[in-house]
Symmetry: C2
Subunit: 430 residues, 2 copies
């Protein structure tokens, strides 16, 4: 049986990978992009170039939308009316859940209840897109999921297709709470390495120590090489990309009047960097917000003991900040009624992962307030406090560390000091 | 009766004004500074140049120390031992209260209990220093205050000499909690005017509207002209000056594990600007952190209605941020057992003043949670939220606005939403 034709719009870094992967799997894929060069590139990779948006959608039973933002989605989906009756529509762009729901509502109001609409944002980067091993978080009525499932499976890793309960919007919410972690950890990687440089520590040795410690995050490991090489123009992931996702988070959080102090702090630093011209630059360049020179030029003159002491400050900074980040993400997810067990499973194997989330996430979810290692909120606070004070003495900005410390102080004011460090989540929930 | 000789060390912007004012009042003032040029300038202004620190102190019954920082104070006071028996020593530098107390303790341990030591930080700027109309916050045993009072009176305005109960350290604590407001409002002035520029509003008209509104702050009015003229090199108050005071605040707050989210946020922005080379530049240049061009070059093309709407966002930003700033300063002052009525009186007539502090400060102090205009925490939150969202849509950083909004969201989580807006203080106190 021949494979069905797929319409595809949005051939940027992610979309190009996804569409060409489908080509490799034997699907006739009709791809369109507003940039003719992207369509040409797609043709060269074996895709079928579409001359217009309408051309890409005409007579397709399956259509994938992977443009960059909600306004672009709006003009793609509602500019023409080219999808045939009973088509299945996968919206893979990262958009607010409320926007995905408005698409479903608008289809109804246009009388297009025949369309099976799936809210299916993705995660994993351009390489995994091209390999067909993305994480996909799909929310839709069962009937729609039934129709689109094979296509979701083609684009995702076998273990990373998450059918998210809750219908349209649930997929986008799952992606969003995942990005709370991504948005914080991307800056955290730069903050830790910048602080290490200010402390006079060797960049690579610091990174190795982080990698094997409770301070590890996926983003730190992923961004490290580009940060060291200053491989930034264009690098692999422009600042504007994470800034867009973070904007969805903080905008949604404000609508819910839910505090996301770390993610909001990261956003402010990203916006400052944007003003400095870093928009199209790889996000690992955020290290420049903490250290003015290449961090690899730091050559340590410290004794072994001094090095160990300074390194511990960096590890404490990252570890405790990532703990508060985990609490922020989980509390926001709980507020949005996201399935927390699924969230935990997803994060542990995705770009938002951190060792803190993995070791303490379940305690935070269950509200146990009991740490696996028995540390209290007071203990975590003291460790972070020492790092933050040292940074201040060095005149080093430490945006996330400071924001996390404020949350911990607030938690202590609420009487949580003697509870297990996972209890910091109660500062968000009361 | 001839006036007594005064020894004076530290002839910087403030110290020079203070010392020359004493000269004008007829005192023989022996001035010293580590910069010979400052001593020469003092001589030209009628002062008596001292050839060394020891020379400035020799045989003086009264000695004023106005150097820049605690480490400098330490080397001045304990490097030599030149003060005669029973001298009165005024420490006017801004230092942590714990440091002022350590000076008293060290004098005791050196057997110099004969010295009358007064912890007497000042506020008001170089012009008021030269006019002898500073605000002075003096803490000391009654006997010491009795001896030094005439000198404190010479340097301060008749209504602005505050004899702070609590002994040595109490003056420094009073200054410190005042500077919580100064540190926030200095950045707030730039944040508001930068946001206005991003909104396409005329800078001068915006400033006039702020001045006559509940959003007014003394710092905004004071910094405005230099901000408009970009009179920054060197301007009147270098970034490093407020950064030093803010560092005392956040360091002390961390030692007490007390949250100061707005002041800490301001510090992070100051540290980022320091990294960008703004250290010696006037602090009104912080507007560059929000808007890349001179704000006076913005020419509004908005209709009257659009202008009113955009302006309201700026006013709401400043007003609600200043409200949260007042709550932060008062709660920290209460924690430090500062006399709150005196604090209120002092601030209302000093550089930390804001209309929010003046109209709602007493309600915040008394924990009434009742607003003069009846607005709730929910109401204030909604207004700030709208401003913060608009800034996000414009990609404008809004560091203080975001930090204040996080505090308000936390307050709402604590169930304070329906209480009067002064209740936001409970977010810091529980």
């Amino acid at each position: 049986m021949s494979k069905p034709s797929i319409g595809f719009v949005g051939l940027g870094a992610m979309g190009f990978g996804m569409a060409t992967h489908l080509v490799k799997e034997g699907y006739p894929v009709h791809g369109f992009d507003v940039f003719p060069a992207s369509v040409e590139r797609f043709k060269a990779a074996g895709g079928i170039p579409a001359s217009s948006l309408q051309d890409s959608a005409k007579e397709k039973d399956f259509y994938v939308c992977m443009v960059a933002s909600a306004p672009q989605v709006q003009s793609v989906l509602f500019g023409d009316d080219a999808l045939p009756q009973n088509a299945t529509l996968l919206l893979c762009s990262t958009v607010p859940a409320s926007y995905a729901q408005s698409v479903a509502a608008e289809l109804v109001s246009l009388g297009r209840t025949d369309i099976s609409f799936i809210d299916a944002p993705v995660s994993g980067g351009a390489l995994r897109a091209a390999a067909g091993t993305l994480s996909i978080m799909a929310g839709a009525p069962d009937a729609a999921l039934e129709k689109g499932r094979f296509l979701l499976q083609e684009m995702s890793d076998a273990n990373k297709l998450y059918l998210v309960p809750g219908g349209v919007g649930a997929g986008s919410n799952m992606k969003m709470v995942h990005q709370v972690l991504a948005g914080i950890h991307i800056l955290g990687a730069s903050e830790a390495q910048g602080f290490a440089a200010r402390l006079g520590l060797d960049a690579v040795k610091t990174a190795e120590a982080i990698k094997s410690s409770p301070a590890w995050s996926w983003m730190h490991e992923n961004r490290l090489q580009r940060m060291l090489d200053e491989d930034w123009h264009p690098g692999a992931s422009a600042l504007t990309i994470i800034l867009k996702d973070v904007g969805i988070i903080t905008t949604s959080a404000r609508q819910s009047q839910f505090p996301t102090p770390l993610c909001s702090t990261a956003e402010q630093v990203y916006l400052s960097a944007l003003l400095q011209g870093y928009g199209p630059v790889d996000d690992s360049s955020m290290v420049r917000q903490y250290f003015a020179e290449p961090i690899t030029e730091v050559s340590s003159t410290k004794s072994e003991e001094e090095t160990a002491e300074a390194l511990q400050l960096v590890l404490d900074l990252m570890e405790v900040t990532n703990l508060v980040a985990a609490a922020e993400a989980i509390s926001f997810a709980r507020y949005l009624k996201v399935d927390l067990k699924q969230f935990y499973t997803l994060v542990a194997d995705a770009a938002g992962a951190s060792r803190q989330f993995m070791t303490k996430g379940l305690d935070i979810i269950e509200g146990l307030g009991q740490d696996v290692n028995g540390e209290t909120v007071d203990g975590a606070t003291s460790r972070l406090e020492k790092a933050v004070q040292k940074a201040r003495d060095l005149h080093c900005p430490l945006n996330l560390g400071n924001a996390a410390l404020s949350v911990l102080f607030m938690a202590k004011k609420s009487g949580l000091g003697a509870e297990g460090s996972a209890s910091v989540v109660k500062a968000f929930e009361h």
